[in-house]
Symmetry: C2
């Protein structure tokens, strides 16, 4: 609670001054002053004079803001560690955003003091664009690197370029002018393994030799990839998109976007692709880009110290990832918006847009921008077409099986390309079938208009494209972003409406079997605490039904604002495992004062015992504004108001759960207190909500693992 | 408060039963039962047995939901009018969404009763897709109609097709085979006004005649448009996008999207375009589409009775509008997302996507999909080019002046095409300049790579395209949606990166002069209560500084839950102009019970005086669960718990305003109560926040006109 803390320390300063000075002094009667008045006045009068004056002045004098922040930075540093999170915990978005705004105000208020401060504030203002630029650059560069390396290693399975070992097959034969266009891939510089090992280019021997070497390389690549992942970075496996979704929704998984993961993922991705497994590099590229974003965000205090701001960078990074994966910058932005991001303000939209732009610049992707042109008139299927259809059907079956199994292997593996391939094969089969129909029955009313004999009215290639989009749509349930990606891939502007129709249909069909896409399914399987914005919560339960404590639970663990000792609190911390404790005025009134986090309490008490004189187990802990009068011999009290969240979120016990869920989703809360007529009743955490949702969906509530 | 109402009546029923029956009966111990227990128990015990039992049962028995809703629909109808809004008022999103979910539950619970109920529930489930389909169809049809009519009337200024009066010039001359391709627009069927009136096709006389007629028609069209708007539908003027933004943000402007506006806007739009004023029909088409959406939503109770749901349809409609305006379905979706929509869940994204798709289907727009092809090598500027440049400069100046003035006229007028035209002219000028540079200095390092003599390295047309995007971007501050729109307009896939760069730059330059785009500026000028998500609120003020009452204000007008009479309440309503009143337990405790809306109070008291026996001025009004014991002769008390919002939003006086603003934005609140340690202190309304923001931005707080 850095912000809160500085803020409330700010009060002391203000309040003391405003007590000791003439109340006509504008500067001291700013917003902060007001609160202190409320703090002290326990009478029920709705409006006492001071308040009004204070309010009045804040409303009228612009100077008050600067002055208050000016006071703030005279204060000593906050207790280190307060306001950070443990691993596998959920962040509190509101708190993080407050922290950031407080930091921003501090910098702004200093701005005018010196040229150095001015530079710092400018640096701070531009760091957002800077970090996304760096992320874009890095993602683009890495994507290019991976492409080149994967090409080279793929060719390595067949042979090697003697003249220059670092050339792939194509580059190797560029130079050679001895070859005709037809056999441009045969050139003296390029040696197959058979030529190198048994010295013969033709014949069954060479064929078998090449085959063996091919298998050998493929297996060794795959093995190497698997073992590297297993040994060095388990987080590097899979596409990583489900985890990124979860992280963006406010969950903390340390090291998931770290430099080790980045390094191993990059290497193993190349190996996995080169080994010829049925996987794509597109999904993992998003993970790689997010790693870049995370690593660069550590260069900027604005982002390294704030989990919420860091997630803005990650959203932009995922956009850059898709941008380089498909050469589809706009598609990338929309992917980040529709699929992965949780909190996506317009500012993030622009940043993502920019990151995708930079990344696309770096990786000068030629976008396979080949419009589907086929002017060959429809003709009867010859023997070639029949065999083609059989091969396509076989390919479809094998591809499906291979993909299903590959996705389970613990290597970096994306789903985009395989599922698009499956869809494309199916689409092509349909396309050919329709072409034959059109040829033989060109008088049917559906064909009549375009398909006279010898005309070209059916384009099987278009069916393939639409099929690819539809299949991927069914897997991921993407809509707009998917259409734009395919659109940017193929450049087929006139096909956008069929594409949209296909994607929409596949989404409907998919939703009929189950609402969640593959990423949501993975999140559920892994039991991550992810509050999905897609599924609607429709039950008549109220906050009172979901809140803790339940029946037979011990009563809610609460702190009172001024009559507990350090020992009492430490005992409560040791006996319970809760992440935070409500602070109330007194057991009798049950009136809520604020909320203190377990972690902050522990850290604060530790540092107090170390640094402050006379803090012992029996010293009174005081969260209130003013220390209660203590007997003379009693030890020095410990003031912990600075770590108290004095604006905890509360709902009444009557609030329907659907509203509570809405609040948690939209504000990104971690917990929320439940009151009845101003009295504290209980608490609802994000985990309680997820458990409750699992229960109402007849799933095992224990499947929600983290908190 | 339909939902709340049914809900709480539900309790009575439950509570009575659960009192009179064995508590082992599952059906009666559902969520609703719990609340009643809390209501009655005023002790401070955090958890009494019944509660736990109730909670327990709700958690375990799925049947409880059905049973409770089953009970609900046995109840008499809600008081008509309760839960609706006045004109120029802001809606409460949370309340609306609750209402909708309650309705949804009611329908679902009935579903299994009969085939008819089943059909109704299916109809309800699909009505969302149905209404967007209808909207898409209508928007597409209207757009087509407007195109055709505008074409015909534009040609009417020059002459008329004698053979068929309803043909425009082009259609008129299609039939004629007597004309060569060069003079295909000259055909005997087409008569200029000179030919018709003074009977001569050539010569100065005919020239002057045609000119006069042209002016005559143009003026009469413009005059007719202006007078139609002025007389019949003042709301039909302008582009309508600022108002649609405001409406989508939760403001109510009755008739703005009504059938009259639709009719007049369609007609006057045709007239305005045909008159040749410097305006586009794209913006107004969005308004037209939204009118369609609004009108169709009245066919479906799900949308006609719920302001929040209606806005989902409007978001989709605006997407359809842009889709038909530019033939850019994806661009339309993104426009709705980035520019106009306020609350845009994924479901709305899909609906918008579908609406845009349908609309694009209907209006088979050929999308000007002409890739910029120019293989003419760069050459020195001849006399033609020089004159062209001068003409372009003149055109630029005039276009700017014309556009500025036209946008002020009270006719349907869009900004898209004019500003794109301005940008395109400027871009073309730059393009030609660069081409000359490249020709004369093809050895400069920037040109060296591509521009040897006789090569074609500069494409002025591309500069025009980029210029158009940049200019429109500067005016509206759109980013992603704009790029996609231009992209879909031109199909220039390879130009997407330059486009993005241009749009991003123009946004930065624009933001340097002022953060708000033209639509935000208009909203501010009109003083609409619009909480813009783009601008960040960064001030140190707290809830306590913004809340009412202020200094010298009368104390907060509150109701007590059980010791006020009908007269007291009616007096308070008459004396004050507030839209709602907090209900507290007692003046002493100041503990908050709920919130009652002025409108609901008035309606409820009126209907009670009419319908209920023995309700007089002196009868006690009771918001509490149980009526206090009254003396025997006292009149019958009036129970108003049913109109009480028992889950009002509260924040503590310490909450920083930035959080409060966030809550208002994200949850779409209308008001929020401020408490301190469980005591009610004051209230913050959306208007208070807007006033406060205006003040901090040194604007006149009185400029916020509505509430």
């Amino acid at each position: 609670m850095e912000s809160e803390q500085l803020f409330h320390r700010g009060y002391y300063r203000n309040s003391y001054n405003s007590i000791t000075s003439a109340s006509s002094d504008e500067e001291l009667l700013d917003g902060a002053g007001v609160i202190m008045d409320f703090q002290t006045s326990e009478d029920d009068n709705l409006l006492d004079g001071d308040t009004a004056v204070g309010t009045h002045y804040t409303m009228t004098n612009g100077g008050s803001i600067n002055s208050s922040t000016h006071l703030l930075d005279l204060l000593d540093e906050p207790i280190p560690g307060v306001g950070t999170y443990d691993d596998f915990h959920t962040i509190d978005w509101v708190r993080e955003k407050c922290k950031d705004r407080e930091r921003h105000r501090r910098i702004n208020s200093k701005k005018k003091e010196s040229a150095w401060e001015m530079t710092k504030s400018l640096y701070d203002a531009w760091s957002g664009w800077l970090v996304v630029t760096l992320t874009g650059l890095a993602s683009g560069a890495l994507a290019g690197l991976i492409d080149i390396a994967a090409d080279w290693m793929t060719d390595l399975k067949e042979g090697i370029c003697l003249s220059a070992l670092w050339y792939n097959h194509e580059q190797c034969c560029w130079g050679s002018n001895e070859t005709t266009f037809e056999e441009r891939d045969k050139c003296p510089q390029w040696k197959t393994w058979a030529e190198l090992i048994i010295g013969q280019a033709e014949g069954p021997g060479s064929y078998i030799m090449n085959y063996i070497m091919y298998i050998f390389w493929a297996l060794s690549f795959a093995f190497l990839a698997v073992s590297l992942v297993k040994v060095f970075a388990p987080y590097a496996c899979g596409s990583g998109i489900p985890e990124i979704k979860t992280i963006l929704s406010g969950f903390i998984i340390r090291g998931y976007l770290g430099k080790w993961t980045l390094m191993i993922k990059t290497i193993t991705l190349v190996l996995a692709v080169a080994s010829g497994l049925s996987l794509g590099k597109e999904g993992p590229l998003v993970h790689v880009a997010c790693c870049c974003g995370n690593i660069f965000s550590y260069l900027f205090p604005k982002y390294s110290t704030n989990e919420a701001k860091k997630r803005e960078v990650l959203s932009a990074a995922s956009a850059a990832g898709v941008s380089v994966a498909f050469g589809a910058p706009i598609g990338g932005v929309l992917f980040s918006l529709e699929e992965v991001s949780y909190y996506f303000p317009l500012k993030t939209l622009w940043r993502s847009f920019f990151a995708a732009l930079v990344a696309a610049f770096v990786l000068r992707n030629d976008m396979n921008a080949s419009k589907i042109v086929d002017d060959i008139p429809d003709r009867p299927a010859g023997i070639g077409v029949y065999s083609a259809i059989w091969q396509l059907c076989l390919a479809l079956i094998f591809k499906i099986i291979m993909t299903v199994f590959t996705f389970g292997i613990k290597v970096p593996s994306g789903l985009f390309i395989p599922s698009m391939a499956i869809g494309a094969i199916a689409g092509r089969i349909v396309g050919i079938a329709v072409e034959q129909l059109a040829y033989y029955h060109h008088d049917w009313f559906i064909f009549k208009e375009w398909c006279e004999v010898g005309a070209d009215c059916i384009t099987p290639g278009l069916y393939a494209m639409v099929g690819a989009a539809a299949c991927l749509g069914g897997v991921t349930r993407m809509t707009v972003s998917l259409v734009v990606i395919v659109f940017e891939l193929t450049g087929g502007l006139e096909y956008i409406v069929p594409l949209m129709a296909a994607v929409m249909t596949s989404k409907w069909v998919g939703d009929a079997f189950g609402r969640e896409g593959i990423y949501e399914a993975h999140i559920r399987l892994n039991g991550y605490p992810f509050l999905d914005a897609k599924e609607e919560f429709t039950h008549t339960t109220l906050a009172a039904d979901v809140m803790r404590p339940r029946r037979n639970d011990p009563p809610l663990a609460v702190l009172t604002q001024d009559n507990m000792t350090v020992d009492d609190i430490e005992n409560m911390i040791n006996e319970t495992s809760y992440n935070g404790f409500p602070v109330i005025m007194s057991k009798e009134s049950q009136r809520l004062v604020g909320f203190a986090l377990r972690r902050d309490l522990t850290i604060a008490i530790e540092s107090a015992r170390k640094k402050q004189e006379g803090i012992v187990g029996s010293s009174r802990v005081c969260f209130a504004q003013h220390t209660p009068s203590l007997p003379a011999e009693s030890p020095r009290p410990l003031k912990l108001r600075s770590i108290l969240d004095m604006s905890p979120f509360t709902v009444t016990d009557h609030t329907p759960m659907e509203i509570v869920v809405d609040i948690f989703r939209k504000l990104g809360l971690r917990q929320c207190l439940v009151t009845h007529n101003g009295r504290l009743l209980g608490i609802i955490t994000k985990k309680d909500i997820l458990r409750h949702m699992a229960q109402t969906a007849n799933q095992d509530p224990a499947s929600i693992m983290f908190n």
